[in-house]
Amino acid sequence: MSNTPHITRRGLLRAAALAPVAGALAACATPAQQAPAASAAPAATSASNPFGVVANKPLEIWIFDGGFGNAYATDIHQPLFKTKYPQVEIKHNSTKEITKVLQPRFAGGNPPEVIDNSGANAMDMGALAQDGQLQDLTPLLDAPSWDDPNTKVRDILDPAVAEFGTYDGKFSVLGYVNYIHGIWYSQKVFRDNGWAVPKTWDEFLALCETIKKSGKMAPFTYAGKHPQYLYEPLLTMAAKIGGNEVLVNIDNLEDGAWSAEPVKQAAEAWAEVGAKYLMQGTTGLDHVQTQTAQNKYQVAMLPSGSWLENEQKDTTPDDFEYGMFAIPDFTASDKMPYGTLHTQPGESFIVSAKSANPQAGMEYLRAMLSKKAAGDFSELVRTVSVVKGAGEGRDLTPGAKSATEALTAAGANTVYYRWRTWYAQLHDEAVAATGQLMSGGVTPAKYVERLQKKADEIKNDSAIKKYTR
């Protein structure tokens, strides 16, 4: 070590002189210019082959391997697709790291045809839309359905699907599952203890007090590690108090959308639950841990969505009987009636516009939307799909049944928000702030102020693409 060189200014300059050489090298690190996918002209279209799928061109599929697993793709969807196109070779893959695995493939110009772009590591839909990577799926909506040449696909879908999957005026994301959000409990526990589903917020608080006093279990919990599980009921409640426009304003980044009175009232309401009725340790637990605690009768209620029952199938006691109720009335003068629900299509399937075989990709989605495929799917993963009536005549589990009934009762009174996927930074801020709200780190007033500030920041950032609804 007698003369380890100092990094001197001259040395750095000399190194810099090498830059041009290196510049040539940089060419190595750019996407290879892919020859435009030798897209053999699509085969002729027909009523039974509306997109012109070529009989022997391969199809690559990536499934997000999350709560629903990926068996539904290999055991239900792909065999069905194969019945019609036996020569199409299907390359099936699954991952939990959608972004890291697939983002470079998009940048490299050879994305796979069909992607279930879901989960915590999903790709930013906005970025994909902005770069024209999403196949326009409007033809899919207008194509005849798999089962009946006289019915359009559009007509068998929940209408929210088209609305929710639209980016820049083009329908390009197919939500396959209908997520229904609410407060989940064990019907058995409520029955055994004589607890009633609360209709008003006062009843809800009284119930929490009763449960707490009973000493049998904690009243309430949520996935403390992932506070988005709590801002969901908070915002649904805000919409109930102040009407659907509360959420529309938030989505559209309107001035003062977050600091509006209904949001603040909802924040105050939930902060009270956070201060008084949470299961011990809630802030440090994730969704699996809290849900397991509920299965073990350590806590009575938690906010979640209709995927819950499937997610917990291994730890739920046989007589647990999941049930779900809508957010209670905050006051008698709420703008939206009792039973209002937050629902939204989830499990987002896309077809890559720049893939080699988008026609087969769209046809695959059409197969997925057949009554048989959707019904088998619902049964396998215990959840409600977006295909109308696909669950009819199927054996529904207690939770799925309860959620379906709540959905019927809600009728047209359903709400949703889209800022979460539109503005990921705002989502992260809301997650951080909601965690703090529930543990008493910020007051409700500061909470809305903080989120308003972040929303304004995003609004004024020209580098972030804006959306409106």
């Binding site: 070590m1 007698s2 003369n3 380890t4 060189p5 990094i7 040395g11 750095l12 000399r14 190194a15 002189a17 090498l18 190595c28 690190a29 750019t30 996407p31 290879a32 391997d65 999350g66 709560g67 697993g69 893959n93 991952t95 939990k96 790291e97 890291k100 695995v101 983002q103 470079p104 940048a107 490299g108 915590a120 994730d286 969704h287 699996v288 841990q289 397991t292 605690a293 073990k296 997610e311 917990q312 291994d314 730890t315």
Partner: protein
């Protein structure tokens, strides 16, 4: 001190020993307490993981230190069969074996030349290597993906070094280990005496022969310690394989572990997670314990000399 006779040393030792024994009784106890405390801190989390690996799901969510009612070895069966920990482990061994060998060979060659042969541009090449120490890896992930993808298009050898190949990952590991390896080995080569090599040159040995037959053996302590660093570093690497190896059967161990950990968020097989963690930890501890003497002496000699 050098003037001290052996008698005085022996005598003073005796005196000092007596003196200290008298004074340090309670202190010695505290010493052991401190050492024991850290031992507990080190070992207990690992043992606790082993314990949890034979518990049932319910017990894992129950009291932390309760013993399992029955030993659930099937957790390991699941970790092995369904999660393929064995396959990932083997992949890791293969990749790291080749990449560390390559790293050490190429790193030593470059470091030796840069340390011992002044030439125009020597300093620039050296700095180029060393500056790599300051690059955050994730910055390069996406461009690197394209590099490897393009490598896959090279005629003849392409299919072996492109994406989803272990050989491709080995080359990447070698390249990313260069800054660290060259930096320390160059420093090390500079400290070695020049006389032996020069004498051999006079006797007509070639530069290459001097390197392989004289300098490398002399540099052994340094090589051993840098080898260990590289084994640890490459064994633990997660970001690079995640992007470059997408096919499940090619995965390395860190990918497997992270996958189970993410999976725990969806299908909740916590028992298998602990079993997989145990399977990842145990072999490393065994290998380390077997070779600990070589590893420790190698590490310290290299780091100090």
């Amino acid at each position: 001190m050098t003037t001290m006779t052996s008698w005085t040393i022996a005598n003073s030792r005796k005196l000092a020993r007596q003196e200290r024994r008298r004074r340090m009784g309670p202190l010695a106890l505290l010493t052991h307490l401190a050492l024991l405390l850290w031992t507990v801190l080190t070992v207990v989390p690992i043992l606790w993981t082993f314990l949890a690996s034979v518990k049932s799901e319910d017990e894992i969510f129950g009291a932390a230190w309760s013993l399992p009612a029955t030993l659930r070895w099937d957790n390991f069966a699941r970790a092995w069969d369904q999660v393929h920990i064995g396959q990932y482990f083997l992949n890791s061994v293969i990749v790291v074996a080749f990449s560390v060998t390559g790293t050490m060979l190429l790193g030593a060659m470059a470091a030796y030349v840069l340390a011992r042969y002044p030439f125009r541009g020597n300093r620039a090449v050296y700095l180029l290597f060393v500056s790599g120490l300051a690059f955050p890896v994730y910055l390069a992930l996406t461009p690197l993906f394209f590099v490897v993808q393009n490598m896959g298009n090279v005629p003849l050898i392409g299919p072996f070094i492109g994406l989803n190949t272990h050989a491709g990952l080995v080359l990447v590991y070698i390249a990313y280990s260069m800054p660290f390896t060259v930096f320390f080995l160059a420093a090390f080569f500079r400290t070695l005496p020049t006389a032996v090599g020069e004498a051999a040159m006079v006797d007509g040995a070639s530069h290459t022969r001097v390197f392989f037959q004289i300098m490398l053996p002399m540099a052994r302590p340094g090589l051993v310690s840098i080898t260990i660093f590289n084994v640890l570093g490459q064994w633990n690497q997660y970001q690079l394989p995640l992007v470059l190896l997408q096919e499940r059967d090619k995965w390395v161990l860190t990918q497997g572990i992270a996958d189970i950990s993410t999976a725990a968020g969806y299908d909740a097989d916590w028992a298998a997670l602990f079993a997989a963690l145990t399977l990842a930890i145990l072999p490393m501890l065994i290998v380390y314990t077997v070779f600990q003497r070589q590893i420790q002496s190698g590490l310290t000699m290299g780091a100090l000399k």
